[in-house]
Point group: C2
Chain length 232, copies 2
């Protein structure tokens, strides 16, 4: 049974506009059909299609589950997008399948990519949510300057992954705790600059290493995502 994303209001649901097209035109869905619906905020329900309009599809819901498969941790990854956009798109899909709550794209000193198509990224994330039957849709934040980002307030444990041996780094594998919330900064192909690492430390970020290997940007990010999933 297929999962759709939409709004949930008590016993009633409604598909988002884009999902409406998908249901009617691509899947040739009909009145009375049963589907899964999530609001992307933790609620998953079974629904029967009761009305089909051009830009909205109404559902009657049953078996409503809140906090469906909620993870015991919150993970926010801020990542400098790779030159090859396929690598970031793959990261988005895999991270959504395994478990992530928020992703911010970072504009950092050595970033080779200065733009990102947020709408396309959201489509990839939504498709992964639907394919892997999840009830939480990760939040995506547009490209943000590194210096602005690290100065913001965050309630998670703040970490910066880098390869600079002149700065103290802890092994993420050794320090990560179950049930703990993390914000992890992942640098671009040329790593964060020394000034950026210094600024992050001044703002309360702890330097970490994500393994002894020379990881690609998206592999380092995936390693954190899979690691937290395994540790929890």
């Amino acid at each position: 049974m297929q999962l759709f994303i939409g709004n949930i209001n008590g016993q009633f649901g409604e598909l988002e506009a884009e999902e409406t097209q998908h249901f009617s035109r691509v899947l040739r869905g009909k009145l009375g059909q049963e589907i899964y619906l999530t609001d992307g905020k933790g609620t998953l329900a079974k629904g029967v299609v009761t009305e089909i309009h051009n830009k909205s599809i109404q559902l009657e819901l049953s078996e409503i589950q809140e906090n469906f498969e909620q993870r015991p941790y919150f993970l926010h990854i801020a990542i400098a997008p790779t030159k090859n956009i396929d690598r970031i798109e793959y990261f988005l899909e895999k991270a959504t399948e395994i478990g992530i709550d928020e992703i911010t794209f970072l504009k950092s000193f050595h970033s080779e990519r200065k733009n990102i198509n947020l709408e396309r990224c959201q489509k990839i994330v939504n498709a992964a949510v639907k394919q892997s039957l999840k009830a939480y849709v990760p939040k995506l934040n547009d490209l943000t300057k590194f210096t602005d980002f690290v100065a913001q307030d965050f309630s998670e444990t703040k970490l910066i992954a880098h390869c600079e041996e002149d700065f103290e780094r802890k092994n993420f594998k050794e320090i990560l705790q179950p049930n703990e919330n993390y914000l992890i900064l992942i640098g671009p192909e040329g790593d964060f600059s020394l000034d950026e690492i210094k600024l992050a430390e001044e703002n309360g970020f702890q330097g970490i290493s994500l393994g002894h290997q020379r990881f690609r940007t998206e592999t380092a990010a995936l390693n954190a995502v899979f690691g937290l999933d395994w540790a929890n």
Copy 2:
């Protein structure tokens, strides 16, 4: 400093034919240049280029390290290739970066893809070895019929990942042991058939689940690769 793959014979090394082209034409490498060389079997060395010929490049080696960053476990994944070949190629790259020893492509009952370009797969694996500075090159085995494969002798702990609730499955996360060697079968988009699961069990394979989620084929395989890396 860049890593190349070749042959090592005592204090001397030689680049493989394909690497020769890459060194001379793409990188415009010269006599006296320093590079890293691996034999793909665990040895990593520094080398100085002493001779450049059309189809061979000779090196004098120093700082020869055997069993370079050897993992304490052996992992063999046998996987039914996905319809979309990009997904398998991405799996090959990421698995090589994180750590894998052998990959066999499986032809199973529900396989949508009946062919694989092994030479192209090897290139992807070699590129990942070089990029992530590894001294072991994973072994790739051509498409093998599921029924033939499971009847072979293996010395690793044999597991089959599937979603069939009619068969007993253990949670891989709960049973996996550090320093243990594993052979894990990963099914195609439509999962293994009931007959295949039965045959695998008759041949000593234990059914496992790789998580409660509906994983894509390559995500399930990656979950095993990352999981073993984290557990060791």
